[in-house]
Symmetry: C2
Subunit: 224 residues, 2 copies
């Protein structure tokens, strides 16, 4: 199954966010043959322009709304604490019916370290996004690892897992195709979007492990 997403056809992807996560995912998607528009608050974000210049003819940039309108699949790669605002700028109409892959984590660094989550326990960012944009098909995925590992799982030796959850089975199947095209072999479907509580709440132990090892290239494996 690896590579079916790639082999089928070129897909137009919108990336919301110009940080390292958005740039890394965007570059990988270009590399495997897709067209990517990176969106930000302004139409002329310097980081988005630089990223597009470095990634060739299939890379472009624009506003959040431009990127969301462009994508058949849209990745939310904004900081979790501003994701709802960014998605509002993108526009519910531009997200309608789209597969919206929520990669963000609601990490709040404003109260010092260790970071806390701005939403957790009885709710999650993934659920907030699905409630705010009921016509988008939200799939939470890839938020439990460093972005280099997201697009190159072989950076971590041995077996390890990526989690997906969401309310729409077809949208999850589409995201699983993308993940396989990135090289993922073990994809765990956790069910509906409420499972985003679980995947977002493993961030505190992720951050602790990272601070202890100073190595970002690790990941969770469910041994069973």
């Amino acid at each position: 199954m690896i590579g079916t997403f790639l082999r089928k056809r070129t897909v137009r992807v919108g990336i919301l966010g110009t940080g390292v996560v958005g740039a890394t995912l965007g570059s990988k998607l270009i590399q495997i043959g897709h067209e990517v528009k990176m969106g930000s608050r302004s139409a002329n974000n310097v980081k988005a322009i630089e990223w597009a210049q470095q990634n060739g003819a299939n890379a472009s940039f624009g506003t959040f709304a431009d990127a969301a309108a462009f994508g058949e699949i849209v990745f939310n790669c904004t900081a979790g604490t501003v994701s709802l605002a960014a998605l509002s700028s993108a526009g519910a109409g531009n997200l309608k019916g789209k597969v919206l892959v929520d990669v963000a984590n609601p990490l709040d660094f404003s109260k010092g370290m260790p970071a806390t989550l701005s939403v957790c326990n009885s709710d999650s960012l993934g659920e907030q996004i699905q409630r705010a944009f009921p016509n988008a098909r939200v799939v939470k995925a890839l938020n439990t690892m460093n972005c280099r590992v997201m697009v190159e799982p072989s950076l971590v030796p041995g077996e390890h897992d990526v989690f997906v959850c969401g309310n729409d089975p077809q949208a999850k199947a589409r995201v699983e195709e993308v993940l396989k095209s990135f090289g993922w072999r073990s994809i765990i479907d956790l069910g509906d979007i409420t499972a985003a509580r679980g995947t977002e709440m493993i961030l505190p132990i992720w951050l602790r492990l990272w601070s202890l090892s100073q190595n970002r290239h690790f990941n969770f494996r469910i041994a069973h």
Copy 2:
């Protein structure tokens, strides 16, 4: 190193709680040669009496205070939402200087499923216990798996991990000896007791994985 805890000498252990976690840990500790007193709210708890009857001459029972006074090492195996009350009954004096292994999770099932945590994010049960009993040497451990796996890690195939955290290095070293005597080979020291936030907050994904698979014999592995 496996078995050094066992080979060195018989240790007196207090188990707080008469549920399946306390009974499973208590029986294992008896099996490998230690003396265990199981404590509960009353001196004559039926489950504690039955457990002691089934576990031979090295098993006994009593109140929380009796068990805490008896143990050189004390395991908190009460439900997380009542742990502070149970430990108050055990008595700060009986816990003074003791290694207190906090196995509990602050799971709140009162609002329906999925369960939430009664404390999380900017605090944890492990930290609450350490603050309430500053003279106990709290080590959070074993709370991230089913109790059969706690005492028989080989139930889960392949490599997988147990986490420990706490403020007292000697107490953690003591707990690591106990874990090795249970068969644990990979023990990850997450640092001070604030890391209990991280290990308690992985319970929601644990519960989701369990509800999907109906298999309790799985565990986390940090692939790196």
